[in-house]
């Protein structure tokens, strides 16, 4: 990727975020019902009209859309329609760090567990480290998070009593959610690492290095690891975006106060601004991390750099 391509990629990000924001904006408005249908007091027509006027929902849709884009351009995601006293920015500022903490921990678990297990499987092919890796990969692929998380609660907190059932705030609260979230991704990483490293170890330049007399450790660390990480890295970008924006399932089961609950709640309560804001932030992270992934690729694989 030369400098011009890089600039083009960076300029495409706001464009894509705009596409996503537009889709989300109009899809939300097309949903039946409105944000003030479930008022606590049976809202009189005047109250509803006043609320609508206050949030500019009485304006034509086109003008609302322009107003929203104007706010978005200034980085203001608007007021939440359900949590009246808070702006969407404020809600995100509170919930996103929680989701991100959980996400980073799960990301670390996935990489820290997946890479060594996958690499061991490739190096000791067909022996016990490989079997261990296969079990991890199968478990991760076949036990969905929403099955694993309640099972962990059942076994390790209700059964063994080692961890709190739910909540957030202390390290012991974090262990089960991180395990539940990390295992699936660790399995994917282990699989990619195993296949990647096995392929690299078969390639001619490794044979050349061995003929030159490089020690087995030297071959692995100095020559094979870097190209073998390429598939892992291309998976890591989207994976991180997924993890950082919060997991609907894990946050719900462990009652972690992150963004996951807001996603589902804001949809059901037709909180237009909050939902659109979450979608925008998620897409933005995804796009930025995809770009970062491509840049990391160039560093890891010289063939891409010189192409």
């Amino acid at each position: 990727m030369d400098a011009r391509a890089l600039v083009r990629r960076i300029l495409a990000i706001p464009l894509l975020v705009w596409v996503v924001a537009t889709l989300a904006f109009f899809l939300m408005r097309a949903a039946p019902g409105g944000p003030f249908d479930r008022e606590r007091a049976p809202a009189s027509r005047e109250v509803e009209a006043a609320l609508k006027a206050r949030y500019h929902l009485d304006e034509p849709l086109g003008r609302q859309y322009v107003r929203y884009l104007g706010g978005l351009a200034r980085g203001d995601l608007g007021p939440s329609l359900k949590y009246r006293h808070h702006g969407v920015n404020e809600i995100l500022a509170q919930a996103l760090p929680v989701s991100m903490t959980l996400g980073w921990l799960a990301f670390g678990t996935a990489m820290g567990l997946g890479i060594p297990v996958g690499a061991a499987g490739a190096v000791w092919r067909g022996r016990w480290p490989d079997w261990l890796g296969t079990v991890l990969v199968l478990a991760g692929a076949c036990i969905p998070t929403f099955v694993l998380a309640p099972l962990l609660v059942l076994g390790l907190s209700l059964g063994a009593g080692w961890f709190p059932v739910a909540g957030w705030g202390s390290p012991s609260h974090a262990i089960l959610p991180v395990m539940a979230l990390g295992l699936y991704f660790a399995a994917r990483v282990a699989r990619l690492m195993r296949e990647g490293l096995a392929e690299v170890l078969r390639s001619p330049f490794i044979l050349a290095a061995r003929a030159k007399g490089v020690s087995p450790g030297g071959i692995l660390w100095r020559h094979a690891m870097r190209p073998a990480l390429v598939p892992v890295v291309s998976y890591a970008g989207p994976m991180l975006a997924d993890l950082l924006t919060g997991s609907f399932v894990v946050e719900r089961i462990f009652q972690v106060p992150g963004t996951g609950a807001f996603f589902t709640n804001s949809f059901f309560s037709r909180d237009y601004t909050l939902m659109t804001g979450l979608v925008v932030v998620y897409s933005f992270l995804l796009l930025v991390l995809n770009l970062a992934t491509d840049l990391a690729h160039r560093w890891l694989d010289p063939r891409i750099r010189h192409a």
Binding site: L16, L138, F268
Partner: protein, 307 residues
Amino acid sequence: MPEVLHGDVRMPAREARRRFLAHRPATLGAAFLLLLAMVLVLGPAFHGIDPHVHSNDTFQPPSGRHPFGTDIHGRDVLARCIGGARVSVLAGLMGALLSVVIGTAYGLVSGYAGGRVDALLMRAVDLLHALPNIIFVMLVLGTAEAALTRMLREVFPGLAGAARMVLMVACLGAISWLNTARIVRGQVLALRARPFVLASRLAGASPFFILSRHLLPNVLGVVLAYASLTVPSVILYESFLSFLGMGIRPPDASLGTLIEDGARQLNPIEVRWWLLVFPGGLLAWTLLALNAVADGLRDALDPPSRG
């Protein structure tokens, strides 16, 4: 036919079958799926308990009468699991079928057209890949259900109750075709440079004829291999949505709904493991078998993809 000729004829289908049968996990998976299919089709007749009937035997642990126990309304969990698995498997098959049809058509056209059309179509795939698809599925599910129900009631009254299922399958099919399209396009790019395509073109065959009679049969093997991977992924999405309360709604149930029921009953006072373990285990084993079969099919039908 002379013996010599007989020995020389290559029979790709027979070779593929031999390779599939030699893949032990795949044959075990296929056996499990056959058994599951029999249970799902014939099970209700044998077990003879209606999954929707409430009774006073609430929260009974597994016993001879209720092998999987009963739930909060005294419904038989085995009967509910059979019903739920029917819904999940049906959704997976239909969603995968749809995604394969879209992906194959898209890949065929893109690969055969080549040049600018191909570049444009593939850019669109990249764009769709960068969007948070599952979130849009949630949005569309909430937005379009009422309208679709109304429409179905007029056109196919019998299907009106299944509007949500139809919509969900359509959405999941509509987001899972991207990889199939990429793979098919790659195959077509390689195939269309082969002499037999040129010969057909020189003989005056129309593009549609070449696509449907020459290219489609050649990519079917790979398409089948990828379709078999799409089935578990659609099942997983469906269960995920149902778990979050955005998919199949009570009183109908899929495996995701049942797992959600089980997860909600997790409490420190009384452990009702059967509500979680049986539907969760059924889902995990089904996914495992489907993945094993997909692996075997890939080995059998697309051998060069393995190093």
